[in-house]
């Protein structure tokens, strides 16, 4: 028993030692390299606060950024776009996160778009519908249109399938289509994959999913004639999309860490991270 404890303790100590060495080595190397470029090793905190829809993107960006800059701590507080913008205005957060553009009343702020969120509208493969307008989607979602024939489909009831309350995709769909709190769901599922499976299983179903998740078991319809794809989201022609914004206060003093994080989020290497997190990076 004692021997075992001794072995475990030794292993733990060795591990800490190694970790210490690793940390020292990795943090000293960039500082030596970058001091030549006139930039000291970054340290400090980057407090972000806002949109729950941006959780995945900001989480992935923060993780990658902290991996490169061991001294920086990026925090994220999921409060919602409105609260994030308020936090940026009041200075309680370094970066406010907003999954919508700034309103006219929200002055003194700068919005930096770091990614786009494209949401595909999906129907069953056997559904003859190929194109809908935003107005038609709205009707289907809020229960004004209860039969597919009203939008040019066959005579069958509409089954609206969506995500659970609190989901970023649901929030995105409902705010873009303008059916916030008025959506009439037949099913609420907890994962994008489950929605795709449910739409694939029900001929009368319509649902929504992140652009990156759609596969050929369902049909992504065109919205007002525009196909949902990375390109059409980037050039703005696909309607069911919204920006993921960093909101910062104009003229506020930013720490080096905050500046570096914003730069990192806009950089080319962040694009892959943004794609992996299910969003669409900006066109280069």
């Amino acid at each position: 028993m004692k021997k075992l404890i001794a072995i475990v303790l030794t292993a733990a100590m060795a591990a800490t030692l190694l970790a210490g060495c690793g940390g020292a080595a990795s943090s000293s190397a960039p500082s030596a390299g970058s001091s030549a470029a006139g930039q000291a090793a970054l340290s400090g905190k980057v407090a972000t606060n806002g949109s729950t829809s941006m959780e995945k993107v900001i989480g992935a960006l923060a993780e990658a950024f902290m991996m490169e800059n061991g001294g920086v701590d990026v925090t994220y507080d999921p409060t919602g776009s409105g609260a994030g913008i308020t936090a940026a205005t009041e200075g309680t957060a370094d970066i406010g996160l907003s999954s919508r553009g700034l309103k006219d009343s929200e002055t003194g702020l700068t919005a930096i778009t770091v990614a786009l969120d494209g949401i595909a509208i999906i129907v069953n493969n056997n559904n003859p519908i190929a194109d809908l307008t935003v107005e038609q989607i709205k009707g289907l979602a809020n229960g004004e249109v209860t039969n597919w024939k009203e939008v040019g489909g066959k005579d069958a009831p509409v089954v609206m399938i969506g995500r659970e309350a609190g989901s970023g995709t649901r929030d995105g769909f409902e705010s873009i289509i303008d059916v916030k709190d008025s959506c009439k769901y037949a099913q609420e599922l907890t994962a994008t994959g489950a929605i795709i499976a449910a739409v694939a299983a029900n001929e009368n179903a319509i649902g929504y999913a992140s652009l990156s998740a759609v596969d050929d078991t369902v049909k992504a319809i065109t919205v007002e004639g525009v196909e949902a794809s990375e390109t059409t989201v980037q050039d703005g022609s696909y309607k069911v999309q919204r920006p993921f914004n960093f909101v910062v206060k104009e003229g506020a003093e930013q720490s080096a860490a905050v500046k570096a994080f914003i730069e990192f989020a806009e950089s080319k290497e962040a694009a892959d991270i943004i794609i992996a997190a299910g969003a669409v990076p900006l066109a280069k």
């Binding site: 729950t52 959780e55 999921p78 409060t79 919602g80 069958a156 009831p157 509409v158 089954v159 659970e164 309350a165 609190g166 989901s167 970023g168 929030d171 916030k180 709190d181 769901y185 037949a186 099913q187 609420e188 599922l189 907890t190 299983a201 029900n202 009368n204 179903a205």
Partner: protein, 289 residues
């Protein structure tokens, strides 16, 4: 001799410690549920929370009424019991009194296997087979419904009912049955008028155990019930107490998250109630003997 007493003492402490772990878990969970669940109930207002008919946790003006969930859980469990108990009880009678030994020995492992199937598998089969079947049979646009959930739950509670009822039926003293048969009653009369009444507290315990399983089930129900916070109707998409918690937990924040703990607290109270009922039944059974 001395070593023996030391071992005795050490083992006593070990047993005591193990006993404490289980009790401590119950105490900690109960304490935490109260701590995490009560504040939101009072923030929302107990009457508004328990009897509100609308749940819109992320709306601009959030509404936290959980009556739809409570009623769905109650109806769903009642429906599952209504279907599951007759089938379960009769299966138990079959296994205990009617079936030839060989057949009973083949059916029994099947029932036990039913108990061992993970709930996600029930859910999956429910989703892929039962939901489309319900939609087709009743000509519905959407098969996910309270009815589908009731069917899945009815199957899931069968093993509890069958196993406990069968044990109770086996424990009926053979003299009772022999006396009944000797008086000229047929075998069926004996089963329904002697064996089942004699085993009734054990059967009741099995039923309560089944109810406990049904009301606490989340995974299978989540996959077939549709999870929309409607007031329960047989063929609409509904949310149970369990699924109300699990579906929104991952992205919840603030009062919404606190309210989810409050739902869990209500569910916890239901389960406690069922456990007390079960204990009372089992005690009554012991007292009766």
């Amino acid at each position: 001799m001395k070593i023996k007493t030391v071992t005795e003492k050490v083992m006593n402490t070990v047993f005591f410690a193990c006993g404490i772990v289980a009790i401590a878990c119950v105490v900690i969970i109960t304490g935490y549920m109260l701590y995490a669940g009560l504040p939101a109930i009072f923030k929302i207002g107990p009457a508004k929370f328990l009897f509100g008919t609308e749940w819109a946790s992320t709306a601009a003006e959030p509404k936290f009424g959980i009556l739809p969930f409570i009623l769905t859980s109650v109806y769903g469990t009642a429906g599952a019991t209504l279907i599951g108990v007759p089938i379960g009880l009769l299966t138990a009678v079959f296994l205990s009194k009617v079936a030839p030994k060989k057949l009973a020995n083949a059916v029994r492992p099947a029932v036990e296997l039913l108990a061992g199937i993970p709930s996600v598998v029930y859910g999956l089969i429910g989703m892929m087979v039962l939901v489309p079947f319900v939609a087709k049979t009743f000509n519905l646009a959407n098969g996910t419904s309270l009815f589908a959930a009731i069917l899945v739950l009815a199957v899931m509670i069968l093993p509890s009912i069958i196993n406990v009822s069968e044990t109770a039926l086996n424990a009926v003293p053979p003299e009772y049955e022999e006396a009944s048969l000797a008086l000229g009653a047929t075998k069926m009369e004996t089963i329904f008028k002697v064996s089942i009444p004699a085993a009734k507290s054990g059967i009741a315990a099995g039923v309560v155990l089944g109810i406990g399983r049904a009301i606490g089930e989340a995974m299978a129900v989540m996959m077939v019930a549709g999870n929309v916070a409607n007031m329960p109707e047989l063929f609409t998409s509904v949310t149970f107490l369990t699924t109300a918690v699990s579906k929104e937990m991952s992205y919840s924040a603030g009062l919404q998250r606190e309210a989810l703990f409050s739902i869990a607290l209500v569910l916890f109270c239901f389960i406690m109630l069922i456990n007390f009922l079960l204990n009372a039944l089992l005690k009554h059974k012991k007292g009766g003997r």
